[in-house]
Symmetry: C2
Subunit: 319 residues, 2 copies
């Protein structure tokens, strides 16, 4: 992949038409915000442009997706937004994987699957890069584009809570509000609304909370029975894995999620220097220092023993 500047990416887009914008599978607010903002800007330039995803877009983003007219065309130019690897395109879009001309992303782990790329690993959200690209193309932000960019920066920072909520993130949020983003509606919909089933699931999950290692490790369990009884869907489990690590005094937060008979997916979140990726690597998984995952087979109690033993080793290593 050839690294190019935002200016060069803008020139490529200006020179082309019938632009297909690929979003990643399990779509979040950043990839959707990027896809819709970029296509709206391209349409303002008189081009045909369509965002596409291999998965259904979550209903919560319908304020962006529902009013956006569907355009069908033979793609003349293919761009991906917020997609770190070609596998993240998902099956539905894998047909395009060798034809991606331009990749716009903020994951340092981007695998360089496109012909050209603008990858800025320091950007707290991919929507920051898209905002620069839109400015560079000379398109004025309108309320729709502003809503889309605001959605990207707000969601990728957990509503300005995470450490990636930089000065640039806040400045971009301010600029989008000034250009008509309905930030109050967006934050309320995304961060202040919970389904009844999600709340029911949270209640069950809190009942499963256990502490280990003098309260330095906390563990919650999400069983298939809890999912069924609460009526929660897959998309409603987001943020659940952050619960144990948020507890005062907890260094290692573990979520054990039942995936099938005797099969569990483990999410580990750490703080204060504990290394989640080291814990998970020892069990065949991987990830980042603060967030990692692995899979373990066995009955629930054995699985809990295995992962908490690995956590204890990490705590011992830290002393």
């Amino acid at each position: 992949m050839t690294d190019i500047t935002i200016k060069q990416a803008a020139e490529m887009l200006l020179a082309n038409d019938d632009i297909l914008v690929l979003m990643h599978r399990s779509p979040d607010g950043d990839t959707i915000g990027c896809g819709y903002a970029l296509c709206a800007a391209l349409r303002k330039l008189g081009k045909r442009a369509q965002p596409v995803c291999s998965d259904i877009l979550p209903r919560v983003f319908s304020f962006l997706t529902e009013s956006f007219e569907q355009q069908t065309f033979e793609p003349g130019f293919i761009v991906s937004v917020d997609v770190a690897t070609e596998t993240l395109l998902g099956e539905g879009l894998s047909v395009y994987k060798d034809r991606i001309e331009l990749c716009i992303d903020h994951h340092p782990s981007n695998t360089g699957f496109a012909r050209c790329g603008v990858v800025d690993g320091s950007a707290g959200a991919c929507a920051l890069i898209i905002a620069k690209l839109i400015r560079e193309m000379g398109v004025k932000f309108d309320p729709f584009i502003a809503d889309a960019i605001f959605t990207g920066v707000a969601t990728d920072t957990g509503c300005f809570v995470f450490s990636n909520a930089s000065a640039e993130i806040h400045r971009t949020a301010a600029e989008m509000i000034e250009n008509g983003a309905d930030s109050a509606m967006i934050t309320r919909l995304i961060f202040e609304t919970k389904s009844r089933s999600r709340l029911e699931l949270e209640k069950m999950v809190l009942e499963s909370l256990r502490y280990f290692h003098d309260g330095r490790t906390a563990l919650i369990t999400v069983t298939s029975a809890m999912m069924m009884l609460s009526g929660a869907e897959e998309g409603e489990t987001e943020g659940i894995a952050s619960i144990p690590r948020q507890i005062e005094g907890v260094t290692i937060g573990i979520t054990v999620r039942e995936r099938g008979e005797g099969s569990y997916r483990i999410s580990v979140r750490t703080s204060d220097g504990a290394d989640a990726s080291r814990i998970c690597a020892a069990l065949g998984g991987g990830g980042h220092k603060a967030a990692a995952g692995c899979s373990i087979e066995g009955d629930l109690e054995t699985v809990i023993k295995t992962i908490t033993d690995a956590a204890e080793q990490e705590l011992d290593r830290m002393i």
Copy 2:
């Protein structure tokens, strides 16, 4: 009270010394951020200045309060920050109530208890006004002042979630980060950390959740027994009252809080045009359209019947 400009307020402060800064009782991040930012700025000008409060400052703000040297002096000039009425000074500071020279506030309901005032009801946080005042006094923001101002704007907007999170709020947050505010530490401490007792209380409160009026009203109960069993302190109940209104489909969210034998404090939160103040006014209370409160005496089930009947009348009125 004489309304004055920020420039005039800056001139008053520059002309005085031994400045006492009064914060409101039940102190939150905005009043504390204002008090410490203003005093730090005044000290940089070589003045003696001390923030004071009639209540103990919550431990979560110790990153501001602990390292700040205590200065004792006979007050030469008294300022209040984020204080809407003199009763909000609390008993410990009521001795100063007739001697307040300058009131800096953002509550439209400010009662004008001081000699002069800068009251900007459009400011999403009082810390926005303090930031302007510090600029006007010619003091450069340093990391401590930046932490304090950031704390004010972040807490009064629920970490940039509420509708008062304006473009100006985001721009000020950006400026404070650029001046050294440790925003990641602050948001993590305040918004991403929960005590074990708070989590235990949340679990009990979720178990008390009931729905009325086809799910348009949701009600939770916080009993004295729950407080005792969970070990939660008064300061740890913040945000609990928002839980029922956050539920999808709920227009009226009610929290019934036991205050003593047969005595209950009711908090009502509404959306979609329902009027919380009308519900509470009918029961002798008051507040704003989206958030109001009242007190009801009786046994718990009767109290619940009384408040849900009042909620039903409001729902009927809306049709």
